[in-house]
């Protein structure tokens, strides 16, 4: 996978910022109604931080900046979780200017491990992991059968979408929504949704 790194991050940021209200509304239903506000603030900060770095091609370096910026600007629980995910994904991509399926697989794996560790969470608890883990598995299935990076990411995106749908069917046992117990069923998880939105932005960028 190649393409302008700055444009990819910008595309992801713009889609998060564009979904500010939607994410906030989803959170208001089962949480404290600030997920969209916090994530949009985080990606506004990322945008400002990357000004002047339009030509930077070291993927690991840029992802590290994204992670650190999210950590220091988002706050709450989403900041540490997404920040950790980007920081962990930065390690396998350190010094790389292009990505193959093997590296992306390692990045997704590292990001997910970071979220699990930081949030002490696993799948089936109505969190971002319910979108990210199936996405990773679908990506790996594609990679194992020799598909291209774009084809693998398409598969990951579809799996994430199904993961978001799945979060509607389960009750929350982690995160703020857990307090609602049975009342959280029927609502899709805002964290899973923001993860899905990031993959969507990535795939749409690659389709252009």
């Amino acid at each position: 996978m190649s393409g302008n790194l700055y444009e990819v991050i910008s595309a992801v940021g713009e889609m998060i910022i564009g979904n500010r209200q939607k994410l906030t509304d989803l959170d208001a239903a089962i949480g404290d109604g600030d997920h969209g506000i916090n994530m949009a603030r985080g990606f506004e900060a990322v945008k400002a931080k990357l000004q002047g770095m339009e030509m930077e091609s070291d993927i690991g370096k840029v992802l590290k900046i994204v992670g650190m910026t999210l950590i220091s600007s988002v706050g709450g629980a989403a900041g540490p979780l997404y920040g950790t995910a980007f920081l962990r994904a930065a390690a396998p991509s350190q010094g790389k200017t292009e990505l193959d399926t093997q590296t992306i697989g390692l990045m997704l794996e590292a990001a997910i491990a970071g979220i699990k560790e930081r949030g002490k969470a696993t799948t089936g608890e109505k969190t971002m992991l319910d979108a990210l883990v199936p996405a990773y598995e679908a990506f790996q299935d594609g990679a194992n059968t020799g598909k291209t990076v774009t084809a693998c990411l398409e598969l990951a995106y579809e799996a994430a979408q199904q993961g978001v749908e799945f979060t509607k069917t389960i009750i929350a046992t982690k995160g703020r929504a857990s307090y609602l117990g049975e009342r959280s069923r029927g609502h899709q998880d805002p964290g899973a949704t923001s993860s899905y939105i990031m993959l969507k932005a990535l795939v749409e960028y690659l389709r252009r």
């Binding site: 404290d32 950590i71 706050g75 709450g76 540490p80 950790t84 982690k174 307090y179």
Partner: protein, 332 residues
């Protein structure tokens, strides 16, 4: 919204500036960060204590920065955990080689952000450890937590761990004492009326004129139930019952009591509550070694109070009664 503020976005910044102006003998600002540390570093190297969390709980936590209590406090946005870089700056500013102990209230965001700060500081070679306060017996899980919430009992952790650190004890000893306080302290609160987060502009929840919420959290998180307003004695009876059901105490044991105002409750009412608390504990044959009354862990302008009971042994008692000199707690 009716508040004495300038702009909602600046409340934390302007409050910190005001605190430094008011208490220059106690606290100073870490430039560029929402962090206050002791104005004068302790003369002898000691374990440094850092606490913090969302703002809106004043005087917690910066009000307890000073000799015998905290070394630094980190102020997040109102009711929002500070980010790791802020906590990391506080750790760097207060470390004097004997290590740093973070006192964290048990909310998912706080725990994650403070843990990340530990990783950042550890990477610099600073020894940092943590304790997590979860004294609220009202609910087992809450909107902002996995497990019990950390509320006013946190101040007693600041006091006792702070006194221990002042003796020159090593980090693991200070942590052991802090954990003992956490193990021995229980709290529960109630609210008469809501509060308004400045950036939100409207009350966090609504209670009817004659309605109260029992077990309310310090960010307006739901408690156990709502009921019609009862007398101070009846409410106090219920809260003390819940606390003692969770931490049975035998006749002859010693305790400390904190009757904490949530922001809009007059001292008169807190004393009326304490009258009943004291009577109930006496009835059970318990000795009260120390009582604190006032606004220690508030929730903006929420009306209501919490009761904390700490079971003492000789070690905790001695440390609790040791001197403290901070903006919000002075003890000789």
């Amino acid at each position: 919204m009716k508040k004495v503020i300038n702009v909602p976005e600046q409340v934390v910044e302007e409050m910190l500036q005001g605190m430094v102006s008011a208490h220059p003998q106690y606290v100073k600002r870490v430039d560029g960060f929402e962090v206050l540390v002791r104005a004068n570093k302790p003369e002898a190297a000691k374990v440094a204590l850092v606490s913090g969390g969302g703002s809106g709980h004043e005087p917690s936590h910066a009000g307890f920065v000073g000799r015998g209590m905290l070394d630094g406090a980190v102020a997040g946005a109102v009711f929002t955990s500070p980010t790791p870089d802020q906590v990391y700056e506080a750790v760097k500013a207060v470390d004097n080689g004997k290590g740093v102990l973070l006192i964290i209230k048990n909310y998912s965001g706080d725990v994650m952000n403070f843990e990340m700060a530990i990783e950042m500081a550890s990477a610099d070679g600073i020894t940092v450890d943590k304790v997590i306060v979860n004294d609220d017996v009202a609910v087992e899980n809450s909107t902002w937590t996995i497990g019990r919430r950390g509320i006013a009992g946190t101040v007693l952790v600041h006091k006792i761990a702070g006194a221990k650190a002042e003796t020159g004890a090593e980090l693991e000893e200070v942590k052991r004492v802090a954990d003992k306080v956490i193990h021995n302290v229980r709290s529960m609160g109630m609210a008469l009326d809501s509060c308004t987060v400045p950036a939100a502009g409207k009350p966090s929840f609504v209670l009817e004129d004659n309605e109260i919420e029992i077990g309310m959290g310090i960010h307006g998180e739901p408690g156990t139930h709502r009921e019609v307003l009862r007398s101070a004695d009846e409410i106090t009876d219920h809260l003390v019952d819940k606390i003692l059901a969770d931490m049975p105490l035998a006749a002859g044991e010693e305790v400390a009591v904190l009757v904490n105002g949530l922001g809009a409750t007059p001292l008169m009412e807190l004393y009326i509550v304490n009258r009943k608390v004291a009577a109930l504990l006496k009835e059970k044959g318990l000795h009260i070694a120390k009582t604190y009354i006032g606004n220690y862990m508030t929730s903006l302008e929420m009306a209501g109070f919490s009761i904390s009971i700490l079971k003492l042994d000789s070690e905790l008692k001695e440390l609790l009664l040791a001197p403290a000199d901070t903006p919000a707690l002075v003890q000789f």
